[in-house]
Amino acid sequence: MGFAFWLDPTFRLVAVGSALIGAVGGVLGTFALLRRQSLLGDAMSHAALPGIVLAFLLAGSRDLPLLLAGASLSAWLGALLVVLITHRSRIRPDAALGLVLSVFFGFGIVLLTVAQRQPTAAQAGLERFLFGQAAMMLRRDVEGIALATVLILVVVLLLWKEFKVLAFDPAFAAAIGLPVMALDVLLTTLIVLAIALGLHAVGVVLMSAVLVAPAAAARQWTHRLERMVILAGGFGALSGVLGTLLSSWIGRLPTGPMIALCASGIALFSLLFAPHRGLIWTAKSPGGKRDAGPSG
């Protein structure tokens, strides 16, 4: 086999795209994880499916920016519905998430079936958004992903301390005059953007793994938010590259599951073997769940 694949410009392009998707997923996933909104990411990525297919059905073409706009819009709508259901009814947040996820995803699958019965050839490959096919990425797609990555990272960097206090203590954030609602909306929008970017390579079904797994892994290795975000971005990028590599090695496999498997592998390793917080470590140390200090 060798390392000849690195010389292949197509592969390099796809690997860079997957790495960026993983990195952004890891960075934003850290905030989602710490705010206990991991499931919201899952609901939003599943909710993107009907948007993709509707955009295709209405426009009749597979123009990518159009499909991603549809995906973002419908993911957003899903998130909004979760918030509304939680606030306006007696339904608990977990049930609201499950409800939105299954209704949107089910509707998306129905639409997908309708689209695939169309006589034109244009619908071919639409089902790849379910599990992702990084090889579909073109040069301009990767350029778009790179641009969006820079944009997202700049926003996170600028609003670093605002997002930090929002994630740790929203009541205090509001008390010092921060517009908590607006920041919440902004952070959710960034996550929607990350999901839309990732649909290509990872797909709607497993996108949440790219959000949650690198962040969960990173938490095991550090006690500082700064390092956690950087580590999660790194783990995400690594998963993106490894997953793409494995899928091209094995051949014609969708990239989404491979990327998700790599991310989950890193998370599993971290949960077991990380110093202080890993299961192996805590099992050895007497009387200790995690490294909790004295209580009381």
Binding site: L34, R36, L158, L159, W160, K161, E162, K164, V165, A167, F168, D169, A171, F172, A174, A175, I176, G177, L178, P179, R219, T222, H223, R224, L225, R227, M228, R290, D291, A292, G293, P294, S295, G296
Partner: protein, 256 residues
Amino acid sequence: MPFFPSVLHEPSTLVDGLAIEVTDLTVMYGERPVLWDVDWQVPAGVLMAVVGPNGAGKTTLLRAILGLVRPVAGSITVFGRPPAEARRWIAYVPQRTAVDWDFPATVLDVVLMGRYRHLGWVRRPGAQDRERAMEALAQVGMADLAHRQIGQLSVGQQQRVFVARALAQDAWLYLMDEPFAGVDAITEQALIEVLRGLKAAGRTVIVVHHDLQTVPLYFEWVTLLNVRCVACGPVATAFTGDSLRQTYGERAIVIS
């Protein structure tokens, strides 16, 4: 924009004025009144306890003063200003249980959050903020734990960190929600000394408290709250068996 860089502007009505004036305040959660027609006046510069049974609306009262809940009726002024404007003079200690202490941060990280309002958007805390945060930590006896991960703190240390964060805010009014909950006797003594220091420096301190026994020991003013404001005033006149019974019902243990 309420989130702005600011030096410590002194409120204009500090001397002999009222820190807080609440008139006819009613707050509802759905159909249920949490605060009902509350009239409440807090003179500037007092150290006051707010006591009452569970669900009496103590936390809601603090949140209303911060402008974080929308009242159905009534008005609130803090140093003569509406809450949204007065926020820059207020430091807030939420209940310890309101946050996840497994958050990846050090003690110093959390205390530095008290400086955020002074910094405004985008700017990061600098050497001066670090210095102020370390001072605040020293005041609560936690300076040597500045770089400790917050997940490793005891309950008493967590409360001290929250109080230190409020101190770093450099405010005129301190609203503290159960800062003594779950702490040991040594921490309680240390914290009450800090509160007395604030009072001595002319600050107004309002503490939601759960231990009726220590009210006369620690505080000179008290508010008894149970949805309505039952009594408010100096401990000597307001903290009576009669008003305690009105607040807690007949099962109240009367403390002389």
